[in-house]
Homo-oligomer: 150 residues x 2
């Protein structure tokens, strides 16, 4: 299904989705956070065709989310590493993870967890705070439009 | 493009994406957070065909993200409101928004903003903290697998 491009949208959610492109992106970014760099590593992890993966890696490189670099070992292939713009997707990946943990597994069903490296303890939930440091849920916030309907 | 189903994945990111389904979901959920309830409101906001929107609303209702309810005005149509599971997607929508704000607009280019209702002031960035309350970035965390490759 071809999506309508939202690259002119005033809404940052729509604009972000337009750049991210499709559902493979959060999984590729997740794998890159987990230390994967090589085409073959991503392919084994995701189980997608080489053609689709090559197209996604190219698009993510063009979008400035990944950077193609020569590998440390001097080999002929390319490594793909996250740029600062790509690393800034960390809260999105964590948000998906925490929602998945809470709502997409049955009782007692096993899943991987995100831990603090230094302590090995589980990370806390993502927090949103107001200017004064007060925790905010959705009902305490609202979107202020720039002009008409975003 | 048909995605591989990840509903057996041990990774909560993959499982979440499988439930969310496609890129329309964060935009429909965003609109529901903004107070939209009616089919026509979503359609005007998203600019998609009635057929695609109807299919998405049905899938989101079946996934327990939206609930179809009789409207307050006693009309014959259905309203769609977020369930608690749907409202729990708030950090994902905010994460996409904040990444979009930071990385998908040119200097001085206008975009909508998320504010604290009570004060009208901008909300802060999503924060991730360790068990001791220490702020964590991606490099301070790691995924602990349940068994083999998630």
């Amino acid at each position: 299904m071809k999506r309508k491009s939202m690259d002119g949208a005033e809404c940052p959610v729509a604009r972000a989705l337009d750049v991210i492109g499709d559902w493979w992106t959060p999984l590729i970014v997740r794998d890159a956070f987990d230390g994967m760099r090589r085409f073959g590593e991503f392919q084994r992890s995701l189980g997608i065709s080489k053609g689709i993966l090559a197209a996604r890696l190219k698009a993510l490189t063009e979008a400035g989310i990944l950077q193609a670099t020569p590998p440390d070992d001097g080999g002929a292939h390319q490594d793909y590493i996250l740029t600062p713009k790509g690393r800034a997707l960390f809260p999105v990946v964590v948000g998906l993870r925490q929602w998945g943990e809470a709502h997409c597994f049955g009782p007692g069903e096993a899943h991987s967890v995100l831990v603090e490296k230094a302590s090995g303890r589980l990370v806390g939930p993502l927090k949103l705070e107001g200017a004064s440091g007060k925790p905010l849920d959705a009902s305490a916030t609202e979107v202020r439009k720039v002009s008409s309907r975003e």
